[in-house]
Symmetry: none
Amino acid sequence: MIQKILIAEDYETVNLSIQKTLEELHIPNPDYVYYCDDALLRIEKALQANASYDLLITDLHFEEDHRQQKISSGEALIAAARNIQPDLKILVFSATGKPSTIEALFQKEDIDGYVYKGRNDARELKLALEQIAANRRYFPQQFVQQQKQKNTYELDAFDITILTLMANGKRQHEISAYLKKNNIKPSGLSSIEKRLNTIKDALDCSTNEQLIAHCVKMRII
Amino acid sequence: MIQKILIAEDYETVNLSIQKTLEELHIPNPDYVYYCDDALLRIEKALQANASYDLLITDLHFEEDHRQQKISSGEALIAAARNIQPDLKILVFSATGKPSTIEALFQKEDIDGYVYKGRNDARELKLALEQIAANRRYFPQQFVQQQKQKNTYELDAFDITILTLMANGKRQHEISAYLKKNNIKPSGLSSIEKRLNTIKDALDCSTNEQLIAHCVKMRII
DNA sequence: CTGTTTTTTACGGAAAACCGTAAAGTGACG
DNA sequence: CGTCACTTTACGGTTTTCCGTAAAAAACAG
């Protein structure tokens, strides 16, 4: 459940409208700041007080002014926040955002949602919040299609078998034995290792744990 | 025997695919609507005409649009339908749904089945329909596991941190370094190992991979 | 402060996973 | 049949994880 929310947005009107949207969703009293540094400070303090935030809603672009800031962009804020609180959910609410930027945010920083500022952004914001509350990600509409196409490293039945067994607690040599028993063609330990490496490479995962996490998230297994 | 079915689902494509699945099961001509209010209306009329529905298949989440609706969610529709026709069988077909939500639906509203939208949802839909036709309930796979393992070992923030980092591809010594850097108290490699063992033991997992799979499935991380 | 209990850390050997390389097997083709 | 290209397997060394034990640190009681 999402209850404790921090809004980082330098435009006051936008900041207020986000608060209003949250109000409609019966999420009362969000904290809000107008500077990235303040945001990070809040997150740190909340963490130390054992009352950490559930969600950070942030813009990407912040106007510079008289107050000198260590953190000057949403990207940097996100990285810093992730660093001190990995389980923090992050929703980016921005007008800018090239596809490559957005993609990087999802993949590298593992953000939970991205909403374009625009015509129906309040409605999208609500949707995104609901999705995030259900532990799902919210991709901007335009992105969904591309994302789908991009994820096209098609895992075949063999891959699925390995991954499923692995997710069920089987060790690699056990998987090898299983494959032999069922006369599935490549059954050597080396083949399993090689295949796993290929998959990890294709899906940009560094450990088995990360790979399994990804596959379960994506409902591949 | 299930013959007269009503589908409430706002996404046209999904609605059609449900109809197609029913067709394969030789259940012809289901009624379908795109709004909750329409669904309730149909149920009422059918009841008065002495030709009540056997089964309602409904989503939980309905997109808002220009048409103002009295009933805006699947939950509300289910409650209203139960109210006017207590013997109506109900199958929820949804992508959302925290375990707690699903549990509440089964216990409070006495729904007959729940199917996650996802990769193999058509196949699951068939299974669910068969079960329901035999007057049995159909629980989603994840739910069964969770039910089984309600050993209620409460994972604390520390556990979540470790698991999250691990699911993000960090190795254990990296996690240790991370904890040290952020002054999180137990940071030794041994402590991480020990904690992981405790969690695996509590959740009945034999490998890290299985543990991560479980946690992602259960939306713990 | 002293002694006791609990938690955390350090360390070392065993198991598993990782990674490169070479050998054995397989299939297509002339 | 022999060659070539490719896949699969076997094997050894390295890294990472696993697991037990013991020292060190912290928390606690008297």
